[in-house]
């Protein structure tokens, strides 16, 4: 089954990280990618929430607002699309994602 792993973290920590710290984090992500191999179908890093745009259509009118649809202490910073036999396997894999140790990883199974 396909499972979407949503990686949440405190954006401020990333903003204030040094280049060395960022490179170290990227290296950890690359290592996770190599370790997970074919279980990772897709994935990406998202630009900061300040570059988010939220779109709603009400009564035929498009409303565009800057920023994410909800403000949370930890915000979405990236994702992986995983190929796992079940959520238990996905949880084991998600625990290896570097972001699980600095924030949280939410797992959402694809619709049946």
């Amino acid at each position: 089954m396909k499972v979407l792993a949503l990686i949440y973290g405190e954006e401020g920590r990333w903003d204030s990280a040094t280049e060395e710290q960022r490179n170290e984090m990227y290296a950890r992500y690359r290592a996770f990618g190599e370790e997970a191999g074919e279980k990772v179908l897709d994935g990406a890093e998202l630009a900061a929430t300040r570059s988010a745009t939220t779109v709603r259509v009400r009564d035929g009118e498009t409303q565009v607002t800057d920023g994410p649809f909800t403000e949370t202490k930890e915000s979405l910073g990236g994702f992986y699309l995983l190929d796992c036999s079940d959520l238990d396997e996905a949880a084991k894999l998600a625990a290896q994602i570097p972001g699980a140790a600095t924030g949280a990883v939410e797992l959402r199974a694809a619709a049946q």
Partner: protein, 122 residues
């Protein structure tokens, strides 16, 4: 430029869908399908390719955290919010304006919201 479009449904809609029988849920889904035709036609006309996925019930989500080397797994979505993620697209758009045009054609935008997030390219 690649964008992730996060399709958020109202939490009360998830509650309503949960109350449906499998047959009713299937009928409700089939009713939704034609609403997406406008988006597919627009994407074809614009030559936009997108990957995407419809997600299952957020109540069945799990949240994984690792603290001091210990894995903690909890049930339920990451945050209890008025709207909950129901699916996503990753689309290659010319610019943010085109991504907004994409978002406003997603049926979910009429009831919930579509959040657009640029992807980081390395």
């Amino acid at each position: 430029m690649k964008y992730m479009l996060l399709l958020n449904n109202e939490s009360r809609d998830w509650d309503a869908w949960r109350a449906l029988s499998p047959e009713e849920a299937q009928a409700a889904r089939e009713e939704e399908i034609p609403k997406w035709d406008g988006l597919w036609a627009w994407m074809e006309q614009q030559g936009i390719k997108a990957d995407g996925l419809e997600l299952g019930d957020p109540a069945k989500a799990r949240v994984v955290r690792v603290q001091n080397g210990e894995t903690l797994v909890s049930d339920g979505p990451f945050a209890e919010t008025k709207e909950l993620l129901g699916g996503y697209f990753v689309a290659d758009c010319k610019d943010l304006d085109q991504a907004i045009e994409f978002a406003e054609r997603v049926p979910v935008a009429s009831k919930g919201s579509v959040e657009i997030r640029p992807l980081v390219t390395h």
